[in-house]
Symmetry: C2
DNA sequence: CGAAGATATTTTCCTGGTAAAACACCTGTT
DNA sequence: AACAGGTGTTTTACCAGGAAAATATCTTCG
């Protein structure tokens, strides 16, 4: 069996580099530039998702539940389900399900708006606040550890380039507009 | 209502920048560095996922199906379901389901291995090959368009930094090892 | 040869997400 | 006051994915 490109070749780089090399061989006419970015972002996101799930699991939270708790914590006020949907970039149905679970766990509380009975106001319970205040630093420390292998200047650079890209994507794709005013 | 941070403030940057500012106000003790990278990668991935779904939809393919077709195309040989699972970073169950759909659509064909009846060999049909050969450049052009707002040098820089991060993640997290040898 | 251990793939079961529909409620107009 | 249009949230129906179990098959060992 002839050696073929694999991601693990000595000094051959990341898997996307390997994929790009395969395309060059199979379809040399293709502009693979987008793959270098899109493919890597997708792969990095997937791997980071795996890692961040592990510490949260210890705390009995899914990533999605954590996101809800964080939104409530960082905005530091009551939010409606609609607010939460916008803050977490998800659908109303997803938020409803998450809130059901979080309410049952005693981490969030809800009350109906006095002036508009369609609206619910959601807040962290004491327990919920304590929970997220405990989990948050652990999670961030974990992520810091994962990123630790990057030189600080490279990490800064990466953050900046990603910010540019994100701004571009949010601008050109009608990015979300959370209700923050 | 006092103005509060939102992602859309004039010149206030991307949503993650806004989130980070909220954390600085609410929990100034936190090291938000990881959010600058992890948060942005996650958001970029989500937004890019939305965009790449739109062109593929015109071609009647989901992202997952496209990935399978691409793996077959770029490796340019028959692959087993296990190969495909590794190449697309998914589970065997997911591959089984995708192959079912693609087989029904006449885009891939399968045959049982002659020496080991557990093993199936999957290949693109003529139609499948033509399909992916048509969709691929359109998809890449679309992605190139989306990334076009980035200065070329910034895009290069981003690709490189992402490659470093991906290599790090794949190394430290026991990254995947597709069967490419 | 038979049994144990391993492996490739599929099936089963469950989870969590989304789009659309449903429901309740609000606002503005006549 | 009645009605139309709009809105916030939940419910419904469906989908795709993964983990674990199931099934079929292979390899090795005594």
């Amino acid at each position: 069996m002839t050696p073929q490109d694999g991601p693990a070749g000595a000094g051959r780089g990341d898997t996307v580099a390997s994929v790009v090399r395969q395309w060059h061989r199979t379809r040399p006419d293709l502009d693979t530039g987008p793959i270098e970015i899109v493919g890597r972002i997708t792969r990095c996101a997937a791997l980071l998702q795996q890692t961040e799930d592990a510490p949260l699991r210890r705390a009995g939270l899914s990533r999605a539940e954590y996101d809800v708790l964080c939104a409530l914590r960082r905005m530091d006020r009551e939010l409606t389900p609609g607010d939460l949907a916008r803050e977490t970039f998800s659908s109303g149905a997803a938020v409803t399900k998450r809130l059901k679970r979080l309410t049952e766990a005693g981490l969030v509380a809800r009350r109906v708006d006095t002036r508009d009975r369609r609206v619910a106001h959601v807040s962290l319970t004491e327990e919920g606040r304590a929970h997220v205040d405990a989990v948050l630093p652990a999670q961030l420390a974990f992520e810091r550890g994962v990123l630790g292998g990057l030189a600080e200047s490279d990490a800064q650079e990466l953050g900046q380039r990603l910010a540019e890209l994100l701004q571009l994507l949010e601008g050109s794709l009608g990015g979300p507009r959370p209700a923050a005013f």
